[in-house]
Symmetry: C2
Subunit: 360 residues, 2 copies
């Protein structure tokens, strides 16, 4: 089977590496000629609205999927008229607009922070009356890795944030969370769903730094699975799906979803029976899903801005290095390492050393 | 680091897949334009004695290794004059000639079946007086997967076998073994050695069918490790090394060694902390070796001549499919599947189903 991927970053690269053992071929579409996935898969060079490039991707693919959700809806629709596209355009569209996403959560009875649209300073007073303060002002579209977000504590910082971010914004209640969790699920062509164990995530400057899996027990795991199940059915979803959550003393609040494999699931390569990448491919190819059971305990550390010495990482017991082959740039995700051990207690001393190495 | 591989079969393909996460690039040299590894790595198309092709491989590589031991010694030497070649030409040469190999075993005090050279029917009587009957007549060079072997039970079948196989033969005592074992080791640039647990192998028609790891307890594991250690030091070896053994009621007998990653080590991809492919790359690149500890119990089944339905294989619990992307041909290794579970007892019922699926 020939798999096409819109986007050629590290997610597409890891999809390709999971595809080859299954006997699949992979073509990726990316605007960068040295895209991470282009080093290990066929690359169609072009941007996501370039019809000629989209046509070449469609011609090279039996099914098309995504490593990036911010693909123009018109491109997804254009592809879908030519080749099966999984997940479908609707899941992409919902995930592109924070307000549509939160309205969907609300409609499905999934608790989410209070929110209100903001298109200029004139809307601020009404919005703050909904969210309270402090709050977080975000761009409705195209935000990722903490880009396009400002915490606002009073009206004057809110005015300033609106001036910086422009229009097309959403104000959200600031959540005083206990911890950040994510849950990754996969839904097959026949509607069957499997869940990976919940993951505990640590962000800094809006970028994911560490993920630990399985997360230590939460009283709310079933709530998270129920929420995902409702979203998957509503979106008629096929493939891997990720929901990011805040755990608070009052329960879980849904933050956002990603209609794709996710950074907080990289640990599944070594830490689960079937990786998120393989399960996404199995799903979109109509194959049986693989077990999502964890194998021991894992923690993943992202390498941001610069790669550590491979030598140092590989000297750590149970360490697995993933270098994405990307050019260093401040704030850019260049690779990760996963530590795996039979039990979580064994990870802590090694994690401390890995974090030191990751900092250079 | 840029890795060159002489040979572009499934071993090179799996080496490439282990290389990318380490941030390495891979170029393979193969005489076939649709070589298995050429689908996932850069391919230099040419035969193993084509100096122009060897030169292109050397130019594209910081270190060169092999997925096939029957490379002309002159080619290995020619490469070694231009780029580091690991393991070295001597290990290749020894493994190419069954008599040199057995003389090496004998010199190092490693028990091996009795043997004698046979260059024509005139040598048979003397050879049989050394080996006894039954015995196995083999070509000294270029035998693999049972090719170039005949069991002989009396003088007349021995005469016939010599006429079929020609000259440059070796007669070996037939070993009435309890089981076939292999042990895979990796030796780093600094001389450090790590051993995978022993593997129990089942051959049919001279082709490996199943490998189970870890093998159930053998009283002779330390003998096997000692034998490998002596060979590694003698050959000044770097990389993964495999020794195939017969277990008899009198102890172990060395059958042959392979100076490379090995079919009986494919289970390490899912069944060991670090796969044989990653550890070979770590060794030849001068990086620290990874843990060779097993993760649960594994059994690998080869797909010979035809590939089963992916659907059926992937519906088995704990099954991992590896399709080499090769054209079907009778007797050809096209792929494998590894079953992995926390304990060996859980594998048996699934193995029975996998074997049925593999038979088509």
């Amino acid at each position: 089977m020939r798999i096409g991927v819109v986007g050629g970053g590290q997610l597409a690269r890891m999809l390709a590496m999971a595809a080859y053992p299954l006997g699949m071929q992979v073509t990726v579409l990316d605007a960068s000629s040295d895209a991470s996935a282009g080093q290990v898969a066929d690359l169609v060079h072009g941007d996501f609205s370039d019809r000629k490039a989209l046509g070449r991707l469609a011609d090279a693919s039996d099914v098309v999927t995504f490593d990036f959700e911010n693909v123009p809806a018109a491109s997804a629709d254009w592809l879908a008229a030519r080749v099966p596209v999984r997940p479908g355009a609707r899941a992409l569209e919902m995930s592109q607009d924070r307000i549509a996403e939160k309205e969907l959560f609300t409609r499905l009875g999934i608790p989410t922070p209070r929110f209100a649209p903001v298109d200029g300073t004139a809307d601020l007073e009404a919005a703050i009356s909904v969210t309270g303060l402090p709050a977080v002002l975000k761009t409705r579209r195209l935000g990722y890795d903490g880009k396009g977000q400002r915490v606002v504590r009073d009206m004057s910082s809110a005015m300033e944030a609106v001036e910086q971010l422009g229009s097309g914004l959403v104000l959200e209640s600031f959540v005083d969370f206990e911890r950040e969790l994510s849950i990754i699920a996969v839904r097959g062509m026949g509607g069957e769903v499997a869940f990976y164990p919940m993951v505990e995530n640590l962000h800094r400057d809006g970028i994911l730094r560490h993920s630990s899996a399985p997360a230590t027990a939460t009283a709310h795991a079933q709530d998270a699975r129920d929420a995902v199940e409702r979203l998957l059915v509503e979106l008629d979803y096929v493939g891997v799906f990720t929901l990011e959550l805040f755990e608070t003393t009052d329960g879980l609040l849904a933050n956002e979803f990603a209609p794709r494999v996710h950074n907080s699931g990289h640990w599944t390569i070594e830490g689960a029976v079937t990786s998120q990448f393989e399960n996404h491919l199995r799903a979109v190819a109509g194959l049986p899903l693989g077990s999502t059971a964890p194998r021991g305990a894992s923690v993943m550390v992202n390498f941001i801005g610069s790669m550590p010495d491979a030598d140092k990482v590989l000297s750590l017991p149970g360490a697995h290095l993933h270098d994405y082959g990307k050019r260093p740039r401040p704030g850019r995700k260049l690779g990760h390492a996963t530590l795996n051990a039979p039990a979580a207690e064994e990870l802590d001393p090694v994690l401390a050393r890995l974090i030191t190495i990751a900092r250079g």
